[in-house]
Symmetry: C3
Subunit: 260 residues, 3 copies
């Protein structure tokens, strides 16, 4: 039997297997389920939901601010930074408040967090709008997440932090804000050092597997400063991060488009 035929068959088999994967992905897009609570889905196995009038006993058990009966919810299996930065834009754009940000130990076997973010609103239309904005922003905020088979690095930037960044990271509202993540955590230590040495920024917080994370294998540094300095720190750390994570596997890549 000729080598070329085997090659051709192999390719064909692989093509068909990939095709069946693609079909599986396609099925993820059928996001109409007929429930009024459902808003949409987004990157990172993220779902967006809304409850017009939360049952009072559940509301109490959730320990939410009593002012808001309508809530918007976004939560994903993969990622916390992208969802928090997306929620930050949503809060700026709508008449809502961030009631809770909770970070699971997740990423589906990866090194990081999953996320659950709850918006409060007096009017359900505002809650729904916040969820819609956040889901749409995810495409951008996943832009500077770079992964390979060994881990991931993540960079987030906003010129003007709002209430989601304040709640999650104690970021000063209205100021430039940057976030650097390295996983495995050892890489994050070097990225934190690189960022702070590259520009005149002020450290807000340093989180590690046993402190400030939900036992993720990450080191996370957050910082503030003037807009140019924050971006410079992020760009320097990103360059180093891609090289370091690459030593443990293939070249780390973004799944969307880098925005920093």
């Amino acid at each position: 039997m000729k080598e070329q035929i085997i090659d051709k068959i192999t390719q064909e088999v692989m093509r068909k297997m990939n095709a069946s994967n693609a079909e599986e992905n396609k099925s993820k897009e059928k996001n109409i389920c007929g429930l009024t609570e459902f808003v949409g889905t987004g990157r990172g196995d993220t779902i967006g939901l809304v409850i017009a009038n939360v049952d009072s006993s559940v509301h109490e058990a959730m320990n939410l601010d009593k002012k808001y009966r309508s809530i918007g919810i976004i939560g994903g299996r993969i990622g916390a930074g992208p969802q928090i930065l997306a929620a930050d834009e949503a809060v700026k754009a709508t008449n809502t408040e961030i009631l809770a940000i909770e970070l699971a130990r997740d990423t589906k076997g990866g090194a990081g967090h999953g996320s659950l973010i709850i918006f409060g609103a007096e009017d359900v239309a505002d809650a729904r709008r916040a969820v819609e904005v956040a889901l749409k922003e995810l495409e951008r905020t996943f832009g500077d997440v770079y992964g390979n088979e060994a881990g991931h690095i993540e960079f987030q930037y906003t010129a003007r932090a709002s209430y989601a960044c304040e709640k999650a990271f104690n970021a000063p509202v209205g100021k430039s804000f940057g976030l650097v993540v390295g996983a495995p955590a050892a890489i994050g230590v070097v990225l934190a050092d690189t960022a702070v040495k590259a520009a005149n920024v002020e450290v807000l917080s340093y989180s590690s597997p046993n402190q400030g994370t939900s036992f993720t294998n990450e080191v996370i540094l957050t910082f503030t400063g003037d807009s140019g300095a924050v971006r410079q720190a992020l760009i320097a750390a990103r360059e180093v991060g891609i090289k370091l994570l690459g030593t443990l596997g293939s070249v780390p890549v973004s799944e969307t488009i880098p925005y920093i």
Copy 2:
């Protein structure tokens, strides 16, 4: 080269690959290992074990009630609710006590818990019997766990809660008890609201990634009430849960037979 031949080969290759998977599964059934401590295995990578007379220094380090030298152990990689409800039946059926229920962050890369449950008994035969009953019950208690590539939803019900449900969830002994889980956690929020709105039940506890779970990406609601109301709440939440989780992937399915 004809398209049909390629198709046939593709099918054949896939069939053979599946066959080798099946063989792997088959090897899991060879659960005779010749150790007196071994009782059996069950769904969810669960193992059942027994120690007739725990070494005193280990017993002390485990911080167990000194009354019991014989212990039965069930522990699995995947699932906590199914194992706890199975242990609940085991406690009803045997002369044993629940000494410990510990929940790891696990499910092998999934969104939920693993479990470790320890029964105490004065006689090793009772401990062994409890483990046997629990392993057998697992087949049923996994019945209302529905999963897909994005997460899982789970529903548990008992007409008469016993000491395992009391220890794990503060369920009132002898009363109807229900449990709703949604993962990713965002789905669990809506399921909790749905359950409580569907029937007249009393909320016992609400757990979320940062409170009451081991940082799982779940929201868990437990409740009590009369038997019909508890079931009605569960059935309503289940219907919504299957739709919501389905928006993130394929149709969620149970691996065994739903019992609620």
Copy 3:
């Protein structure tokens, strides 16, 4: 179409798929990235790094002993015991101190920990040397880690514990030290009991999913005693562990060479 041809093609496809996996592994070996911070990589997706002079604000945020400006870092996605025992040898061999040992909930979807270990040194050459020694020792310390699709068991031994074992496990410095891990945790309970019954050893600590671990699905027992007793306890537990874990899947194997 003849059965033999299908078989041959199937084999060929599988061979090619394996080959592409091998190539992927090979790419992991290209560990030169041109950064002075990079030292090397090792088993368990472990990376070794060094910072000659940590930025003062990061140093403060990390809450490290101010005495040391140079730090060595090893951190991996898979494993904590192997990295800690490797760091223990590194501390013996170099003029460094263990500043931090942090354990993430990781192992890439497995049942155990990842790790982050930080060495402090006055001279960066010492920090680098410690990292080099630790990375090299990993090959040995992974020797008694046995895994299969359901979990893992791990055994560690040192005739003379040093400061890494002291920091992580309260091991008495200079004395024999042993560590037994079973995952899922249920298996670890029986291994703990087996180890202590097999020889005259003194229990140092017992960790379980909810206490002393980062919510891993493990039970970990550490103990001290005379060298022969510690080894005897480990060997007895290892024999039982391989049998028990084997009931949940295939025969557990070590990826390197057992050393105990």
